[in-house]
């Protein structure tokens, strides 16, 4: 697995968890709250949660070291393309994408991250993983 680029001293290392519900300690959860698994009042962390559509991230370009998504639900191919495209936009050069679908693990996402131009795409521990060029 490629090493993530290290953040400059003083910079915050931004990890975005698409559809996240605070299960990843230091990530910022991006969740539309359309159908959260758990009651939002039990997991929303002030300062670490953004209510947003994962295919239209309200995040400026090139700031995230990692964009991950675990337990991503079924969605259309068009939404997958949009989500991967947005992930690429917000990732910094050398940043990593790591996606897992509830219905098919990482394999369901692999071709989408390859088509979006991510490098070194592979399946690692159930996730489709790639690096932003």
């Amino acid at each position: 697995m490629s090493q993530l680029p290290s953040a400059e001293p003083g910079n915050i290392q931004v990890v975005l968890n698409l559809g996240g519900e605070s299960e990843v300690a230091d990530a910022i959860d991006i969740n539309s709250l359309v159908f959260p698994l758990r009651e939002p009042g039990r997991w929303i962390r002030p300062g670490r949660f953004i209510q947003a559509d994962m295919s239209a991230l309200p995040i400026r370009a090139g700031v995230a070291l990692e964009v991950m998504g675990r337990r991503l639900p079924m969605m259309s191919a068009q939404d997958r393309v949009a989500m991967v495209g947005e992930s690429r936009r917000v990732l910094t050069t050398g940043g990593r994408i790591r996606l897992h679908a509830t219905s098919g693990g990482g394999s369901l996402w692999l071709s989408f991250i390859e088509d979006a131009g991510f490098l070194g795409c592979s399946l690692i521990s159930g996730y489709a993983v790639g690096t932003r060029p």
Partner: protein, 102 residues
């Protein structure tokens, strides 16, 4: 409305997955009410227990659209569901038999 069989409910959920965009929530919920109906709630509860993880998620969404309160109480690999159907006073816990593994 004629009650759908368990396999028909599963197929409907696979062919009409819950939306990920907020603006599609209301029309999808209306379809759930019209095409599945509250008579399917026991089958949706069964799917929470026995369905594969994606089907569990879809059953959770459909049950909510039909007025049930359904929340995951814990996280995988030990996920269980808290379910309170319309008219029930207290929620019950339903363990998921098929967990997401990483």
């Amino acid at each position: 409305m004629k009650a759908l069989s368990a396999s028909q409910v599963s197929r409907w959920l696979e062919e009409n997955p819950a939306p990920i965009h907020r603006d599609q929530l209301k029309p999808w919920s209306k379809r759930v009410t019209r095409e599945l109906g509250r008579a399917t709630l026991p089958k949706l509860v069964r799917l929470l227990s026995d369905g594969d993880p994606e089907l569990q998620y879809q059953a959770m969404a459909a049950a909510r659209a039909l007025g049930a309160e359904v929340w995951a109480e814990t996280v995988d690999p030990e996920l269980c569901w808290s379910v309170r159907l319309p008219g029930e006073i207290s929620p019950r816990l339903i363990p998921s038999r098929k967990q997401v593994t990483f």
